[in-house]
Symmetry: D2
Subunit: 221 residues, 4 copies
Amino acid sequence: MTVKSKKALILAGSRGIGKAITNSLGQIPSYDALGLSSKDLDTSDINKCMEICDLYPNGVDVLVLNTGGPPAKPFSEISIEDWNKFHNQLFLGFALILQKMKINDNGFIFLISSYNIKEPDPNLILSNTYRIASTSLLKSLSPQFAEKEITCINIASGPMDTDRFNELSSDPIAAGKGFPMQRVGKPAEIGDFVASIVEKNISYLSGATINFDGAISRGIF
Amino acid sequence: MTVKSKKALILAGSRGIGKAITNSLGQIPSYDALGLSSKDLDTSDINKCMEICDLYPNGVDVLVLNTGGPPAKPFSEISIEDWNKFHNQLFLGFALILQKMKINDNGFIFLISSYNIKEPDPNLILSNTYRIASTSLLKSLSPQFAEKEITCINIASGPMDTDRFNELSSDPIAAGKGFPMQRVGKPAEIGDFVASIVEKNISYLSGATINFDGAISRGIF
Amino acid sequence: MTVKSKKALILAGSRGIGKAITNSLGQIPSYDALGLSSKDLDTSDINKCMEICDLYPNGVDVLVLNTGGPPAKPFSEISIEDWNKFHNQLFLGFALILQKMKINDNGFIFLISSYNIKEPDPNLILSNTYRIASTSLLKSLSPQFAEKEITCINIASGPMDTDRFNELSSDPIAAGKGFPMQRVGKPAEIGDFVASIVEKNISYLSGATINFDGAISRGIF
Amino acid sequence: MTVKSKKALILAGSRGIGKAITNSLGQIPSYDALGLSSKDLDTSDINKCMEICDLYPNGVDVLVLNTGGPPAKPFSEISIEDWNKFHNQLFLGFALILQKMKINDNGFIFLISSYNIKEPDPNLILSNTYRIASTSLLKSLSPQFAEKEITCINIASGPMDTDRFNELSSDPIAAGKGFPMQRVGKPAEIGDFVASIVEKNISYLSGATINFDGAISRGIF
């Protein structure tokens, strides 16, 4: 029997992409993969973000920063409460966790963001703005983490077969057909991708933002 | 005598880059250019941001979103108060003004950001993260503003000969010598640039983020 | 009478965007602006590119690298002759001119490229690939030119009201209506932009690639 | 015994990164991985590029476009012969192979490029310009390949522990120490990465350019 000597912590890890990552990481023999639900931790609750760090005094080896998406809202209807809530949920909560959580040497930090960081969607301004802020944060920190052999990777996810996508899209199957691959992505593709990087210790990917969108984005990079 | 039929409002317009823009816009005969000082409006004061919009019921023709920079701080020393203050000052204040301020048709919105939006500086995380959030916001809104012939332009400024640069750099003259042009930029270059665009109505620049850094940034774009 | 002490050379300067730049630069009192036609210089003719440099032994103060666009062709139909011809016309000719032409200190080099450098158009592969190569070249050279106070600027033009656009588009007026500004760009906007930068000596723009596409491109930068 | 029903073809696959990819792909039970040496195929030889396609009438399932790097040369010393040779080797040869080679449905195309596509190195202009041209080509084609479930991925490699790096760097060990991870990358990291994507069929990565440079690049993306 393999000792589960390594710990992976996946935020928003009980559904959708987060759950798929939890599942895939859990299949690595040496890993104990813990997917927190949004009940366990709602990252818009700043105090909770800091408390959670105390639960892992021995640190974690893999940290996956993930969260549900904010609602689609016309710009004019976004309230101050919305701005502040999603500032917390999509950015500040992650920043505080990165300040306080012990990440073990040779570990990995993954941010699950969105392809709208590169090509902002006018209907998803809360998502666009705070996810790109988190992207900038992780990039800013990556050289410093690199000194401890900790690898930072940002996955800019496109439309995935999740409850989230099915809510945002009026006709998700038709929407999928319109994409270059004639389908949305499978959460397991991201799960397998993350687990492969961890299992094979592909640490030189540090600092990368990786589009994961089935050739939808038009940008050359 | 030319009637000053157009109004330009420049936030943080009493010093540095903002003052230079105010000066240059003020030389366009038809323009009344009003540079607000940080006493007139501190964009970290959310209520003040909304009140200021009421002072211009006839709208403005040019709006320059500008603000002083946050302090350089190691990541570990950034407090929750810092995060929230600069979230307001560098992002939320601008967002609220964009929601409420009347911008006249055929007008211009300029955001003065920083070259650290593209190449984040590990010592300026507060600046990196919230300025890129504002960049994403302006880009998200640019197609919608374009429908009213309002042009959105983001200027990603490099080191400029301002009090700000002289504070951040231990030896600003030596620092300037190390740059490709062997100097920092002159605020008047940005002022003249903005005024030329407005005066000649070069509106097809809408949506652009323009590096203004004397060939310092390494990125191809 | 002002002495025309400065010389601007505009390739493909007798039509479209190039002609507009020639016109605008020609209105600066100290400038003699010479727009070459494609008969004067076809940049796909490598020998001619080198010969032309000998005509300006005293150097030029502004050089505008511009050329007509290649045809839209499906990838499968691009012949070796096409690849080589447009390699010369859109890239190698410019490279050789940059190697040989004397650019006077404090001068300007403009490259007129296309917004397809950032968001490649599957139907314009010859244009996408060689224009981005030229972009990379100019960026690579910009720090070296900066040492002589020579400013390099790349203008990534979107659809403009030129013969070229009218040929590529089956219904150019309808196409324009579909854009965020409900119109294509005016060549004079680029002409005025270039002339303003030169006249006001806004040299700290060096190294920039500037989108000029009326908010069409979706990329955040 | 597993039938080797799938074929992977790796250009420049006998040394360095290419060899590592050949090794890793060869460990997938169903794959026959064939690494061509530069003697088997020098992609600067256009005729050879086309002939090679005829050797695989049943198509390949994985194609890795890889080639040795061009020499570091000051811009002024690059000859017309250099431009043309490396145009062929780093770009045109790949384009012709992509036009002619049969890639089986559900296959993968990898381009091994360089981090200098995003941050051009003034001393490596031949590499910068033609590798970014190939990047643009692959991106242009990715939606079209996606229709046949063929996935296109570009790996923008940073400094790797290869003969190439050891030639370019006067003191490779010291150079490695100066990087954020205090080392260069291991070719096996890229090999394992490519093989994981293929083996687990992570096809929704299509269209991505993935930095593989140990947090060296400064760009946010």
